[in-house]
C-alpha cells in the first residue's frame, strides 16, 4: 500500500494548470503548423500565423494564451494500491486558487449558476476521481474555455445508427456550432456509455490530440480520419473566416452502453487546446 497526500496530487495538478495556460502543448503547435503549411487561403494563413505568434508571446510568461483560462478540469485516477491522505477536493481548491493568483489567471468560475456570483478564486476545481490498478496516480488537467463548452452537444442516436449517420451528425453540429468555438477545432467524440459518461468521454478523448495513441477500441482510427476529412470539406477555416483547416484532429472514445441506447457526445476544443498529464 502506498500513501500519497492530497496536497502532493493537488500541487502537481495546479502546476500543470498554470503551465498549460502559457505554454502551448507541442503536439497541438505541430498540428497548427501543419495546417499553416498546407493552407491555401491567404487570409486563413494569416490567421493561423497570428495563432502561432500568440503562442510565442504567451510562452514568454507575461500573457496567458487566452483571457479565458477555462474551467479547471482535473481527472485523477488512483491505483488500487494507493491510499490518498486528505480530502482531494479541498486540496485541489486551495492549490488552484493559489495557482490562479500566482499565474495572473482570471477568476472564471461563478459559485452559483443563477445569481452568477463569481467565486473569486477560480474554484471549485471540477474533479473526476476514479480507481485504477497499481500504485500510481495519473493526473490529467485541462483548461477548457466557455466558447468551446457552450458548443457541446449530446444526441441520443438509434442503436442501429450507421457510421455515415454519425459522420453526418458531427459535420452538421460543427457547421452549426463550430465557428463560435475558435476554429481550427479539435473534436472529441464520446460514443456509448450513459449520457453523462458519453459527455465525459468526449472531453477525455481530447487528451489524445496529435498523439499516436489509439482509442480504447481498435479500428476507430479510420472513422476518426473520415470525420476529419468530412469536417474539413466544410471550409469553415480558421476563426470561421474560410479555409482548408476547420479541424486539426478528431478523437473518439467508446464505452459499453444499453442495448437500446447510442449516446453520441461531441465536445469541441479551440485551436489552442490546453491540457497536460502527469503520473505520480
Amino acid at each position: 500500500m502506498r500513501t500519497i497526500t492530497a496536497e502532493e496530487i493537488a500541487q502537481a495538478a495546479a502546476d500543470i494548470y498554470g503551465e498549460i495556460n502559457y505554454r502551448l502543448n507541442p503536439r497541438v503547435a505541430a498540428l497548427i503548423e501543419k495546417a499553416f503549411e498546407s493552407e491555401r487561403d491567404q487570409a486563413a494563413r494569416e490567421t493561423l500565423s497570428v495563432i502561432l505568434k500568440n503562442a510565442e508571446i504567451a510562452a514568454e510568461g507575461n500573457y496567458p494564451l487566452c483571457q479565458d483560462n477555462g474551467f479547471p478540469l482535473v481527472w485523477v485516477e488512483a491505483g488500487n494500491e494507493v491510499l490518498i491522505e486528505g480530502i482531494l477536493q479541498d486540496s485541489l481548491d486551495k492549490a488552484f486558487a493559489r495557482s490562479t493568483a500566482q499565474h495572473f489567471l482570471r477568476a472564471s468560475v461563478v459559485a452559483d449558476p443563477l445569481s452568477r456570483r463569481n467565486s473569486g478564486d477560480n474554484t471549485p476545481v471540477f474533479l473526476h476521481l476514479s480507481q485504477g490498478k497499481g500504485d500510481k496516480v495519473k493526473i490529467s488537467v485541462m483548461a477548457k474555455g466557455a466558447g468551446t463548452e457552450n458548443a457541446t452537444v449530446l444526441r441520443m442516436m438509434r442503436p442501429s445508427v450507421t457510421d455515415q449517420e454519425l459522420i453526418d451528425f458531427i459535420v452538421e453540429t460543427v457547421s452549426q456550432k463550430g465557428p463560435e468555438a475558435c476554429p481550427p477545432l479539435v473534436l472529441g467524440i464520446g460514443l456509448g456509455g450513459t449520457t453523462d459518461l458519453a459527455l465525459g468521454l468526449s472531453k477525455k478523448a481530447l487528451f489524445r490530440t496529435g498523439s499516436s495513441r489509439d482509442s480504447s477500441a481498435a479500428g476507430l482510427g479510420a472513422l476518426e480520419q473520415k470525420i476529419l476529412a468530412e469536417v474539413n470539406k466544410l471550409g469553415i477555416g480558421a476563426m470561421g473566416w474560410g479555409g482548408d483547416t476547420t479541424a486539426l484532429d478528431v478523437r473518439i472514445e467508446v464505452s459499453p452502453t444499453h442495448i437500446a441506447t447510442m449516446p453520441a457526445a461531441l465536445s469541441f476544443s479551440c485551436h489552442s487546446l490546453r491540457f497536460g498529464e502527469e503520473e505520480l
Partner: protein, 172 residues
C-alpha cells in the same frame, strides 16, 4: 489597410464592406454579459448609459488580471452572439461598432442595417497577441464586476475584419 479612428463618423462606418480587413485606433469600450445586463436594466428604468455612445465601439472582452508593469492582461474577444439581445438598443443610441468573435443573429444584422453600424470580428484565442495593440486600459463603470466591468480601452492599429457591414452584408 483601412484604419478606423473611434469615435467613428457615419460616413466612415457606411463605407465599410463585409470582408474588409481593418485596424482600430482610439478609445473604445470593453463590455460583456454582466455589464450589458446592467446597462439594459438602466435603460429600462429610463436612466442613461455610463458612457457617451455616439460613434463608439464596444469590444466584447473580459481581460485576464493585470501583471504589474503591463497595461492590461490577455484581452481577446468573447463570443459576440451572447450579447445579441442587448445590441440593437445600443446601436439605436449611436454605438457605431461592436467587436467580438463568431457569427451574430438576424436581429443584429438588421440593427446594423437600420442604424448604419458594423460588427467587427477579431482572432479569438489570440489574447496575448491582441494585448500588444492596447496602449491604455481603465475600469470606467461597474468595478464590482471585476473582469466583466465596463472598460475604457485605448487601442492602436488593433486588427479586425468587418463581419457585418452597415448594409447588413455578412462575411463570410
Amino acid at each position: 489597410m483601412m484604419n478606423l479612428n473611434f469615435p467613428l463618423g457615419n460616413e466612415e462606418a457606411a463605407a465599410l464592406t463585409a470582408g474588409q480587413r481593418v485596424t482600430v485606433t482610439g478609445v473604445i469600450l470593453g463590455a460583456r454579459d454582466a455589464a450589458h445586463r446592467l446597462m439594459a436594466q438602466s435603460l429600462e428604468k429610463g436612466e442613461g448609459l455610463p458612457f457617451d455612445p455616439a460613434g463608439q465601439l464596444i469590444y466584447y472582452v473580459g481581460p485576464s488580471p493585470l501583471r504589474p508593469g503591463n497595461i492590461i492582461g490577455s484581452a481577446g474577444p468573447t463570443t459576440a452572439m451572447r450579447m445579441d439581445s442587448f445590441t440593437p438598443q445600443l446601436l439605436s443610441r449611436g454605438v457605431k461598432a461592436t467587436m467580438g468573435k463568431g457569427r451574430r443573429g438576424p436581429e443584429v444584422v438588421e440593427a446594423c442595417r437600420r442604424h448604419k453600424a458594423v460588427y467587427l470580428g477579431t482572432v479569438g484565442g489570440a489574447a496575448a497577441y491582441l494585448a500588444q495593440f492596447i496602449t491604455g486600459a481603465r475600469v470606467a463603470a461597474f468595478p464590482e464586476l471585476g473582469t466583466e466591468a465596463l472598460w475604457e480601452i485605448t487601442v492602436k492599429d488593433f486588427p479586425a475584419v468587418v463581419m457585418i457591414d452597415a448594409e447588413g452584408n455578412i462575411f463570410p
